[in-house]
């Protein structure tokens, strides 16, 4: 085991400063993807900047018509939040289905979004609800944030501080689990929002994406049968041990239909 240094700043400002000083250090925001990567030898950071001691990054609040979730809020806290359960039940449900109990009590929303695993659940909610990502220096709209496989709009050393979710009229998330890892083989988040219907898909491609064909149909009529006959192209979708691209494409429509039924 290599020796690493470990920082535990008490404020976002200190964390940003440390990140600037130690460019090869890894920011630790729960560590549910990062630490296994280190154990598998896929990642060898020089040190850690652990955000767990920054109280301003934790907790939930309402801000007008937005649910605001601090970046270091754990999945279990989001799932258990009465505010989230009553305003955006789909989000509470999604958070309660991430990983297992242990992961949900360590993993954080900010950590998940900064990592942007192509099969993670949170990106589907953020993109599906048209949320806004607040960082130490700016606000980033969901549509501008996700840049593909493990890539985001975050600059080096930029730290997510909170996520603003506008409360939708209706929303639901349906996750089809990869049988072994139980990550999303395909996960579809459907929401009827002030700015229209949004359909976000995780697990199927190199990163979360929206499906315009489904959004158009559902925008005209937000009902399960609107999904019928929508054929999502398989091109560009993932093929792996657990599913072919055409199976994933097929599942997107099936799951979208079920999500709409659940949202209604």
């Amino acid at each position: 085991m290599e020796t690493m240094h470990y920082h535990r700043p008490a404020s976002v400002a200190d964390a940003v400063k440390l990140a600037g000083q130690h460019g090869d250090d890894k920011i630790l925001a729960g560590g549910q993807s990062t630490l296994p990567s280190v154990r598998l030898g896929l990642l060898a950071p020089t040190g850690w900047i652990d955000l767990a001691g920054i109280t301003e990054l934790q907790g939930l609040c309402m801000d007008g018509n937005n649910v605001v979730i601090g970046a270091m809020t754990m999945h279990a806290a989001v799932a258990a939040s009465k505010d989230v359960q009553s305003r955006i039940p789909a989000l509470a449900h999604l958070a309660g289905g991430i990983g297992d109990r242990q992961v949900r009590n360590r993993g954080t929303i900010g950590g998940s979004l900064a990592n942007n695993d192509p099969a993670a659940c949170y990106p589907a909610a953020v993109l599906g609800l048209g949320a806004t990502i607040q960082t130490d220096r700016r606000k980033i709209a969901a549509d501008d944030y996700f840049k593909g496989l493990y890539e985001t709009a975050l600059a080096a050393g930029e730290i997510i501080t909170a996520v603003h979710f506008p409360v939708p009229a209706k929303a639901a998330y349906v996750k089809f689990k990869q049988p072994a890892s139980r990550f999303a083989l395909v996960g579809v988040f459907v929401a009827q929002t002030a700015s229209g219907v949004r359909v976000a898909v995780t697990g199927a491609g190199p990163g979360v994406f929206r499906v315009k064909a489904l959004e158009d149909r559902l925008g005209a009529k937000f009902a399960p049968e609107s999904c019928d006959g929508v054929s999502v192209p398989a091109a560009g979708l993932n093929t792996d041990l657990h599913a072919s691209a055409d199976y994933r494409a097929h599942l997107i429509t099936v799951l979208a239909k079920r999500a709409v039924a659940a949202a209604a």
């Binding site: 598998l40 049988p179 072994a180 890892s181 041990l241 657990h242 599913a243 199976y247 097929h250």
Partner: protein, 788 residues
Amino acid sequence: MNDPKAGFIGKSVERKEDFRFLSGSGQYTDDITLPRQSYGYFVRSPHAHAKIRGIDTAAAAKADGVLGVFTGKDMAGVGGLPCGWQINNLDGTPMKEPKHSVLAEGKVCYVGDHVALVVAETAAQAKAAANLVDVDYEILPAVVDTATADQAKTAVHDIAPNNVCYVWGCGDKAATDAAFTKAAHVTKLHFANNRLIPNAIEPRAANAAYDRAGDSYTLYVSNQNPHVERLLMTAFVLGLPEHKVRVVAPDVGGGFGSKIYLYAEETALVWASKRIGRPIKWTAERSESFLSDAHGRDHVSTVELALDKNGKFLALRVHTTANMGAYLSTFASCIPTILYATLLAGQYTTPAIYCEVKAVFTNTAPVDAYRGAGRPEATYVVERIVETAARELKIDPAELRRRNFIKTFPYATPVGLTYDTGDYDATLTRAIELADVKGFAARKAESTKKGLLRGLGYSCYIEACGLAPSNIAGALGARAGLFEAGEVRVHPTGKVTVFTGSHSHGQGHETTFAQVVADRLGIPLDDVDIQHGDTGKVLFGMGTYGSRSIAVGGTAIMKAIDKVVAKGRKIAAHLLEASEADIEFANGEFRVAGTDRKKAFAEVSLAAYVPHNYPLDKLEPGLNENAFYDPTNFTYPAGSYVCEVEVDPETGVVRIDRFAACDDFGNVINPMIVEGQVHGGLAQGIGQALLEHGIYNEDGQLVTGSYMDYAMPRADDLPKFTVETAKGTPCTHNPLGVKGCGEAGAIGSPAAVINAITDALSHMGVTDVPMPATPHTVWKTIRAATRV
């Protein structure tokens, strides 16, 4: 639960070992740290098939904390890891047995093959230094696919140029072929039995220490049969004196077969411990377990069943190719032969059976016994083809089975076994009741309304357990005996320590065996302790596998108890001044028949150790007896399983709605433990049917090498099981009338699940779904069937 008056056999006594396990006070191999402990780490091949041009260990040897680096060259004088069963080809020539070097010599044959051992002060230092071992590989093409290995251009081993280890046959080929020419109907299927990776919760581990004073060794190892481990290691590999090596298998967290074998790791540690002069510990990381534990199953079979116009089975013909992996593991050769083809009669009177098995080498991890070992594969063959034939003939699958059930016993099958007893109608009838098959049509209609497809599948399995009559096994190629040993040590106060050669790694022997002893001696359960897993304590043992522990190990203990009671009668006769013939033993008391003159068990044991008033001229003092028991036949647990599934045709998801099992295990010692064994077996069998699959890509890389890609069954993948043990037909040839229950669930369930799925899809013309029937696989099957 401690009072002997009511007896202990047949009682769901809580497990004595559970306090230890549930309170975290178990002692597993990795928990044992010895004075001056050092740590080993294995350099493993990253390639499936490669020549080793050279190994440079200089940098590793100089790394921090390193005590030694060893390669195959250092161990060149050492023997290969042996295979314990010789299978002969159809022409009588023996199977091909390539040397299985402890550390690779000149060549590696699978990803994970052992190339070097690095020993250091800490585990982290050993691992870091292992990265500095520079191996110069010349990569060779890999042979991976089971079905085509014999046509590959590359040979895994020079001595087997077409990668064939053996071609073996069982049964009467001519009679079988002749029966097919007269058949009114022939059903044919071709399928694979998927490769499984065992995944015991405790990874393999070993800690080897050399004692200079005694020129002796102690090996702690996570293993199912320490005496066999010692015998194989000393006599066949390292050439050490057997009596100078003590092997301890302490608490072991599951084995399922994968810890029967002698592996390279512990062998290398024992050998190196003398060179280093310090104890060396190694504990597998989970990724090492995936790569290097012996895998299970991996067959490809073509199966044909011939029937007459009334649905009577005329003949069964099976051609199987079995993957041995890169080398022959300890019992690899007998799994797809002796433990497979001999079970192809199933529960039926099929008069002619022929099975031909081609075993092939590939550049994959060695394949050996895994829970059920050959019998799940046989049951899958028989029960899939029978169910398919019933559908083709439009006969109710349960009815077709009943028409062909064996009804008179003993019954000699055409594939070498003689079933002593059974009642297959009874278990099937009860399973049908438990499953509420009557209500199936109504449930199916409900499912249909929801757009879901419901199916029902049967599986009526039989297994040969209680391995095994040594003389029969020997005639079939076994290179070892298959008896068991036991010792009953009665202490002066009447407390009892029992030493058994059976090993418990989850089975609950410390409770079950104690129940047998306490019941027979009429003493409290707490007065009996069961000791196992240490060649320094237990006189001998063949270990635990093949559901043999209670049937063979338990019988050995029974025989030792008989000797204790016989001697106790002599002592009691003396104390009571009566004739030995008049002494009765019951309820923990030796009594002069028909009188109230008696001596308690503890009074007799005290007299044996304080022999003041004792027939010293005729009888030795002490009360300690041992016994060896070699069974006269296998035992034949059998049962019927009914699985009901709901398939979502849009996604391919299979949900097991209900699963009913009725097993005939003969007499049952502890129904709770037996039920737990069935649950565990069902979970593993359903795991095989729906989830688990060890997959190598064409380069021989294991692509399911972690829990991210290898799907283990979890609680929410499984239904609530309805499990019942039949009143049963006691085994006729052991005193407890027991048959064994450890593997039944894993043996019987895969066919029931796949039969249920194919039933749900049968209206589409689907006759087979490959295992594991993952959503993707089922969806593809549906799509292929419904595409016009």
